[in-house]
Amino acid sequence: MATPAIRMFRRLEGLFCVYKPSGVHWKLVRDSVETNLLKGLNATSSQPLPQEVRFLAHPVSETEAPKGLTLSASSVPVLSKHPLVTGPEFQHIRVGVGHRLDAFSSGVLVLAVGNGNKALNDLYRTRVTRDYTLEGEFGTATDDFSHTGRVVERSTYGHITQDKLDKVLAMLQGANQKALLMYSNVDMHSQEAYEMAVQGLLGPEGKSQPILTGLRCIRFQPPNFTLEVQCLNETQKYLCKVVHEIGLELRSTAACKGVRRTRDGPFTLQDALTHHHWTASDVIRAIRQYHSKRNAKYTHTQIKDTALQPPEESTT
């Protein structure tokens, strides 16, 4: 017999994303989300206690002193099922984490509940890119490439202009494009490689070195600048190092002030739950949204496949 709580527990299966603030370890985020979910589940189980009939002995008063036992039936609650005795109904729920974020960065962190953890595996076995926004500042170089590290060197940055920065970014993009081609396991002279390149599918399968598939500068006000990056197989430390290397290429120094993940696969900032919304009801809503989006995309691709017959190019 499925109580509302058990039904809710079974519905809690799927993927959703939260916004991890910076300065916090990702495990704390995961733990607090798990705690909140359990709290929410346990709060809904407001089943009335079952009653049972027990024969209770009356308390003997001093006036009447019969030696016989008088029992009377009364319905009493079953104490063994009392929540204070059994403890909360749900004590454990599986919450898994997708691509991790280190304590310095913030942004979209994908979590999975229950059987959604299997979907998590599948989702990340396919090639999925992530978008970041990197805030950088010229003028200092630190030992851990972020602005909280120990300053190693300070240098001038007055000579840096937008077009010099663009040149350096173009050079980095070229190097990353070459790495992308190198790590994709296709012979570059084959027709298969051409078709993959046309669809944009060239790239590494599985583990490889971090590759930036897209890089551009969205704001430049010296000494501060902001980059938008799309990458594969990266770590946030690597992105801080990229900011540091940009500074070196420009004959100056740079440190990273913030790393913010704006997209992880299909999950964007719009879908991310902030700290106040880490409750069970919001999580259930987010999971439902994810399911509906996925179904819509699935039916959309099905329709596309059946309706579309792409004409091949003619070779005379």
């Binding site: 704390l28 909280t148 300053v151 001038t156 000579h159 070229g174 669809q199 070196l248 190019e313 005379t316």
Partner: protein, 565 residues
């Protein structure tokens, strides 16, 4: 200093440099203490933002390094790559190696930096030679390197004698132009053909130098002219208005004036001059046909096919169409008068570029269309197309991250394609088939074509020579055979070149073999070139085989005789 070295040096400098290590160490000690305190406070927090431990920076005492000087000028770089035996890359050590052990470098496959004295704004590659020009107003504004046997780089005085000119120039050497006001005129554009070059200046018109055997330099054709060691740099006349663009085909030249008219001169056997006939033209004549009254904004040519783009986005073509470049209007293999090419689905054409066997156009939306024969850029399977095919823009960097990438320029000659966002260069390199020369011939390739040259040895007739070529499906054979320089031979003599083709292939395929030789539909013949003792060229002789046949060798028999017996 590389990046990692600099990072390491930064760290090392702090620890080991004696001059201010004491200051630094004291500073560090202070900072370490504060750090410990802050981490202690943080240990119990849950989500305290760690901005508290942000270091000093602005008020710190410490040196600020400056790595860039006050007056640093932007540096402009020139990169060269390709075939380097003739010295066309401008780096002498490729041709004459510094140490005796090394061999001359034949191909430079990756871009190699060429140091130039000035900023270079225009460069052009010909057959084994290169011209680079700078927009400066100094006296020296043009440099040339590579093959100079037809004085296509002007007169390059040798060290030992001022009457002799170098045949191969290994380094960018200044070319002296006969300008009226050398300190006022700037070189706007250079263009190079097979053995001639054109220089366009802003105030003094067009200068031409090099081989003029077909009038491609725009001056009167002189019989038996010796081009090697020639001082002639001809200032071209006969244009109705100022010339704004020049283009060199293999042996012809095209000029675009500022009123939008096109002039042409040179070899016209394929109609590439567009003057309505197949003769040579030794002075620039205005091109008519469908271009009469049309304002042209860009011209382009490479081999024997010429294209023009008008200001309203229409494309006109004339010349060679053996590779289906002009198949949208004609089934013939040559057109000698410009025809408008109706292209469906291409939009308004902004730029056109001719390759040797292909054509590419750019429309105003930044899409690139290609057609023709050879490596078209649409994968290894597509090697021939008579209708324009669009190249998917994902190959130029368009993706979800960058949806607005568009191509802004296309150029031919060495087929560079510049994309706007990423500035990646695609080089069209046709695979060089190995050539098996016979009897010590000197063979070199330029522009994707292979040229065999039989050195002259001894007087009298040259015995028949047979070249055995691995069946190169898309190679065009230009055969240059030099008659022997025999002092006893009469100056005017008829030299006959007999050529014949045979194919050797697997027996199963022999029945379905269909070789096609275009200039005459026969497999052998005599070709005569009178009076030109320098060269005997067999133009337009090439072989297309059925693509799916697997050929082993093509035997090309050549026999050079003074007269037919």
């Amino acid at each position: 200093m590389s990046k990692t070295e600099r990072t390491e040096n930064c760290r090392r400098r702090i620890h080991f440099s004696p001059s201010w290590v004491s200051k630094r160490m004291a500073f560090l000690r202070v900072r370490l203490c504060t750090r410990h305190i802050t981490t202690g406070l943080q240990a119990c927090g849950y989500a305290t933002l760690s901005k508290a431990s942000r270091p000093q920076d602005k008020s710190s005492t410490g040196p600020v390094f400056q790595y860039v000087g006050q007056h640093k000028k932007p540096n402009y770089k020139v990169f060269v790559w390709g075939f380097s035996f003739t010295g066309a890359l401008g780096i002498p050590s490729f041709v004459v190696p510094d140490s005796g052990r090394k061999k001359p470098r034949k191909y430079q496959l990756t871009p190699y930096r060429l140091e130039t004295a000035e900023q270079i704004s225009s460069a052009a590659c010909g057959y084994g030679f290169t011209l680079i020009a700078s927009p400066t107003k100094d006296v020296i504004k043009l440099w040339g390197m590579g093959l100079n046997k037809d004085s296509q780089l002007g007169f390059q005085r040798t060290q030992h004698s001022r009457h002799q000119s170098y045949d191969y120039v290994l380094e960018p050497s200044p070319v002296a132009l006969p300008l009226v006001e050398p300190l006022q005129t700037k070189v706007v554009q250079v263009a190079c053909g097979r053995a001639h070059s054109l220089i366009l200046t802003d105030q003094e018109g067009v200068f031409s130098m090099g081989n003029n055997a077909y009038g491609q330099c725009g001056r009167r054709i002189v019989e038996d002219e010796v081009y090697s060691g020639s001082h002639i740099i001809h200032k071209m006349e006969g244009f109705s208005s100022r010339v704004t663009q020049v283009a060199c085909g293999q042996d012809h030249s095209l000029f675009l004036t500022e009123t939008g008219k096109v002039f042409a001169c040179g070899w016209g056997a394929d109609g590439q001059t567009g003057l309505g006939h197949h003769r040579v033209s030794s002075s620039p004549v205005e091109v008519g046909g469908d271009l009469a009254g049309v304002e042209v904004q860009q011209i382009s040519t490479y081999g024997d096919c010429s294209l023009a783009v008008s200001t309203d986005g229409q494309l006109y073509g004339w010349g060679n169409s053996e590779y289906l470049q002009l198949a949208s209007v004609t089934e013939a293999t040559q057109i000698n008068s410009p025809r408008h090419l109706p292209l469906k689905g291409c939009g308004k054409v902004v730029q056109a570029a001719c390759g040797g066997t292909q054509v590419a156009i750019l429309n105003e939306k930044g899409e690139v269309f290609v057609w023709g024969y050879g490596i078209l850029g649409k994968g290894p399977k597509l090697s021939e197309s008579s209708i324009p095919e669009v190249i998917p823009s994902t190959l130029f960097g368009r993706s979800e991250f960058n949806p607005s990438v568009a191509v802004t320029k296309i150029r031919s000659r060495r087929a560079l394609r510049l994309g706007e966002e990423c500035a990646r260069l695609f080089g069209h390199r046709e695979e060089r088939r190995p050539v098996l020369p016979v009897e010590g011939d000197c063979a070199w390739s330029s522009g994707g074509r292979s040229v065999w040259r039989r050195p002259h040895g001894g007087a009298g007739e040259v015995p028949a020579v047979s070249f055995c070529v691995p069946a190169a499906v898309d190679e065009r054979l230009d055969v240059l055979a030099e008659p022997p320089a025999d002092p006893r031979a009469p100056r005017e003599a008829d030299w006959w070149l007999r050529w014949s083709l045979e194919a050797s292939c697997s027996p199963q395929a022999a029945s379905t073999l269909r070789p096609v030789v275009t200039s005459s539909q026969v497999h052998s013949g005599w070709f005569c070139r009178k009076r030109s003792l320098k060269q005997l060229t067999l133009p337009c002789m090439w072989v297309i085989w059925e693509r799916h046949q697997r050929m082993d060798f093509v035997f090309l028999q050549l026999e050079l005789k003074r007269s037919i017996d």
